[in-house]
């Protein structure tokens, strides 16, 4: 039971939605899958006057490929990603990450875009979308704009989205690459990340390395990426970048893990992840979906 009152609207167009958002500054929430929002309403973590459900707006549920650009609409669920042939062929890393999110009953509703809009520090989409250098596309009452994912996460549960904007879709460049998402949980099954590593590597040995649940937001490590750039993997290089991890992350101690444990295990996950991502680029790595920790 939710012990509060709010108005619910389900606009049929993007324009109508953005005007509703603009008309209720400070007291409006966008609803897509609702797996975070409905829980937050119940917990009294949010108290909107208006909830704007975007599920009737056309074209927001698309997954399509334009050349080498993968387009993912804001109503695409984790289940959709796991079942998409396009994703399986061009960005299996998205499916690997999706499989680790909560449970099927959540994945059937929860959206990829909602995950980065909720922007909790352990959000599974964060490290992977950072490693993909994703572009976030938004529309507001005065037009559309793009935000680089590197500028997206601005704090715990905070993003660069303005309150009157709706995220319409993400775009991800998907030339040939290898990728990995390594997520540590307290047990196999349904859990939030204690720590997570997302890596993408391209044939020119350009590496992208991102972490989740070890800082107030998902983060990329420019220093580790720079150290790796242009180099094939060897033990010395891996040891070098693993040793950089404690300076790159700022984990906390909470009920799921201590800061010390998170720091140590992130190094272990980076080591295994790099080997897997480079192996996958070469076609010899573990199958996508293989649990590495």
């Amino acid at each position: 039971m939710i012990a509060k009152e709010f108005e619910y609207r389900r606009p049929a167009t993007l324009g109508e939605a953005t005007h509703l958002l603009a008309d209720h500054p400070g007291s409006v929430r966008v609803l897509a899958g609702g797996t975070d929002l409905v829980a937050w309403l119940r917990d009294d973590a949010v108290d909107p006057d208006l909830v704007v459900d975007i599920k009737d707006i056309p074209d927001l549920a698309d997954i399509r490929l334009d050349g080498q650009t993968l387009h993912i609409g804001s109503l695409v669920t984790f289940t959709n990603l796991m079942e998409s042939d396009l994703v399986a062929e061009h960005a299996p890393l998205l499916a690997e990450m999706s499989e680790t999110v909560a449970s099927p009953g959540i994945r059937n509703r929860a959206t990829l875009v909602g995950n980065i809009c909720s922007a909790v520090p352990s959000c599974d989409a964060g490290p992977v979308l950072l490693a993909y250098n994703t572009t976030v596309h938004l529309t507001g009452p005065n037009g559309s704009r793009n935000i680089d994912i590197n500028d997206w996460f601005t704090g715990v549960r905070e993003t660069a989205r303005r309150e009157d904007e709706v995220v319409t879709h993400l775009t991800i460049e998907v030339p040939k690459h290898g990728g990995v998402y390594v997520k540590l949980m307290r047990y196999a099954g349904e859990d939030l990340a204690q720590a997570a590593v997302g890596i993408v590597v391209y044939p020119n040995l350009d590496y992208r390395v991102a972490f989740g649940a070890v800082a107030p937001t998902p983060i990329r490590s420019a220093a580790i990426e720079e150290a790796l750039r242009g180099n094939g993997l060897n033990d010395d290089l891996i040891n070098l970048v693993v040793a950089m991890v404690p300076d790159e992350i700022s984990p906390i101690t909470d009920m799921r893990a201590t800061a010390e444990y998170r720091t140590h295990i992130t190094g272990v996950m980076l080591r295994r992840g790099l080997v897997a991502a480079v192996g996958r680029l070469a076609g010899t790595g573990p199958e996508y979906g293989t649990r590495l920790i």
Binding site: M1, E5, Y8, R10, V51, E99, P104, G105, R109, E190
Partner: protein
């Protein structure tokens, strides 16, 4: 707000508030008591229902979101008698207190719909969001695995104990 939904094939016209969650509306207005109030935050799976054939946590769906959608609860999959899976749950004794059983049967039903011959790992993954505090899961996994397999040695009647079985 006016809400029109189909629950187990039956059309309902209801009056709900925006803050009413689907779980409460199903239990209190429709009178379908199989979805249970557990954690009310999507972790335990006891409120699971099928929405257009896919499992959802009815505690995390606003009732107004279900407008125009088809909801099926465990009552709805047994209206023509028990499903094969439910039959196996009975024969293998795959639940004890029964609180989690409707959610687990629906999660397993969704799995078998998409993957008629699941591996043990597939079953574990499919049920990862459904907590059971009685069984230790083993008989549940056996029942779901069995539903995809030919029946061997399960010759007791489908709907209850055989004559001579101890109560």
């Amino acid at each position: 707000m006016e809400l029109e939904i189909k629950v187990n094939g039956e059309q309902w016209a209801l009056n709900v508030a925006p803050a009413d969650v689907l779980l409460d509306v199903l239990r209190e207005q429709v009178g379908t008591k199989s979805p249970k109030i557990g954690c009310e935050r999507g972790d335990c799976g006891s409120c699971t229902v099928l929405m257009d054939g896919r499992t959802v946590r009815s505690c995390l769906v606003l009732a107004v979101e279900a407008e125009g959608h088809q909801i099926v609860t465990v009552e709805g999959i047994s209206y023509q008698g028990l499903s094969e899976l439910q039959d196996l749950f009975l024969r293998i004794n795959a639940f004890q207190c029964g609180f989690c059983a409707p959610g687990i049967v629906l999660s397993a039903t969704e799995l078998l719909e998409h993957n008629p011959n699941p591996t043990r790992h597939d079953v574990q993954e499919a049920l990862a969001g459904n907590l059971c505090r009685c069984t230790g899961y083993e008989p549940i996994i056996e029942a779901v695995l069995g539903a995809g397999q030919p029946k061997v040695g399960l010759d007791r009647p489908a709907t209850g104990p055989a004559e001579g079985d101890r109560p």
